[in-house]
Point group: C3
Chain length 213, copies 3
């Protein structure tokens, strides 16, 4: 995430939003304190870590900035000490907004990193999508759910995919790194917000599947 | 997958068969369009990618040949637009044949790659098995199933295991790369076809487990 | 795992204990012979392998020592041939002891490896925890369970976490590698044994979550 310094604050907000989504899922599943920290950490750092493993980049973000791990640990412990599950339900709705912001920023950052390695456009866009989406996917796999991103018919990964292509397009047009990152993050976030507000659904199969198994 | 060029066509067929197996599973699970593409992609490329992460090989097959990603994307979208689930059920039975071919070819290719790195024979054979089997395993984990390869008592990984040893044995006997790859792929595929036709079952535990949990 | 030679015997015992925990889980889930070997292997070697992927270390432990893979294979086949599930139930209780030993040793070894790479203390401790805990986590994910380590409210990862900090602390105080490894492994194992004997529970959320889904 070599984004310019002034993006760091918003990125922190995004990581926080993803960590909170893990916290909520862990609360729903009645996990213990270890599970809460792990699921929260996976949701926050899992996407970027998976991208870095695929791109063979070291050190990971959370290795270079281990104070973020401390912050996460503190957040989880504080949440478990202070909050009732009822409070989290309120947070859930409010949280969609920073989550949409996080989606955009992680998409832009991940795609840029892959482009800097000279990867083909489609692969770079996929790396952006992986960065933005796979934290939530790992969260759901550990919680023994089919990942919501593949399943709930809400545009989520699709918004990241579109944002990634905006970055590729903007740089093909010769835009600088700053503006193209902003355009990409803005596009993904805006599409996600629109999807939330309008409730559009992704297409599924044309007929219900048979009741196999 | 540095197989000789004339194997590429059959390999494409194998990747296609694995992609289709993901498509079917996604249809059964009522995933949305994102889930269909991801599960299909995992089934097609997941085994080789996991092997490459374990062997620390870069770039991945789908990074070098990103047109295969485009083909996969097109396939998934076309399938969702054109096919009803009923059509896929027909494909399911027909698909076991290219799947068996894919099993053999991925086994041979993966084992050869590991042998080229000078790994011990058992490790090389395991890498072949991982290449051939783990795509399906990742597909099932994402779909929140116990992987069929570990569970359905049909010989599948076992066929790949046997094929891998044929490769090791053939090269110990001084066979060239071409003939030994063919022998390995042929053995794994043939065993799988025999298993399909005869319906033999892998041994399980000698008594039913207690109804724990 | 470059532990001093005389630790190797106990380490073998630990790996064996983890392999047995996989065997038991596979028996409970009625997996076939392939599933038994895979789940057992994941439980035994999965934590160390995941740590090595994250630290970008090659070759893996089981690549350098492929005779351990042969031993695992033999163990699984022998267990399926000779044991009834009833016998395994007995083993289950007895197995907690070597498992606690394994927890301590893998924690110490994993933390030491990460410290040797110059990683920050918290990251090194996490690598120790990953080494000790993630084998069991992968075992549970493949078996389609929420990982017990995140869920059963028994101190397990927490013991490893404490042990890792003992290692960091001891080396900050200038202790040699041998004594600090011993102190770390001893702390984690002792805490785990105490947790088993006293039945203490990790804190959960202060109220039961709503019956969502």
């Amino acid at each position: 995430m070599n984004l310019s310094p002034w993006l760091t604050g918003i990125e922190a907000l995004a990581t926080l939003a993803f960590a909170l989504s893990g916290l909520l899922e862990a609360a729903r599943k009645r996990l213990d304190v270890v599970g809460v920290c792990v699921v929260s950490g996976l949701a926050a750092f899992g996407g970027g870590t998976l991208r870095d493993v695929l791109l063979d980049r070291r050190p990971f973000f959370w290795v270079e900035h281990s104070d973020w791990l401390w912050a996460l640990l503190g957040l989880c412990l504080a949440a478990m000490a202070l909050l009732k599950v009822r409070h989290l339900a309120v947070t859930n709705r409010a949280m969609q907004w920073p989550d949409a912001l996080g989606l955009g920023l992680f998409t832009a950052g991940g795609t840029q990193l892959a482009l800097d390695q000279g990867l083909p456009a489609l692969v770079a866009v996929l790396m952006g999508v992986i960065t933005a989406v796979c934290g939530g996917v790992l969260r759901d796999i550990v919680c023994n759910e089919i990942p919501k991103a593949f399943h709930d018919h809400r545009p989520y990964a699709v918004c990241a995919f579109a944002g990634g292509w905006v970055l590729v397009g903007a740089q093909a047009l010769g835009w600088g790194e700053g503006p193209s990152l902003l355009a990409a993050a803005g596009t993904a976030t805006l599409l996600r917000v629109l999807a939330m507000l309008t409730g559009v659904r992704l297409p599924g199969w044309r007929e219900p599947p048979p009741p196999t198994r």
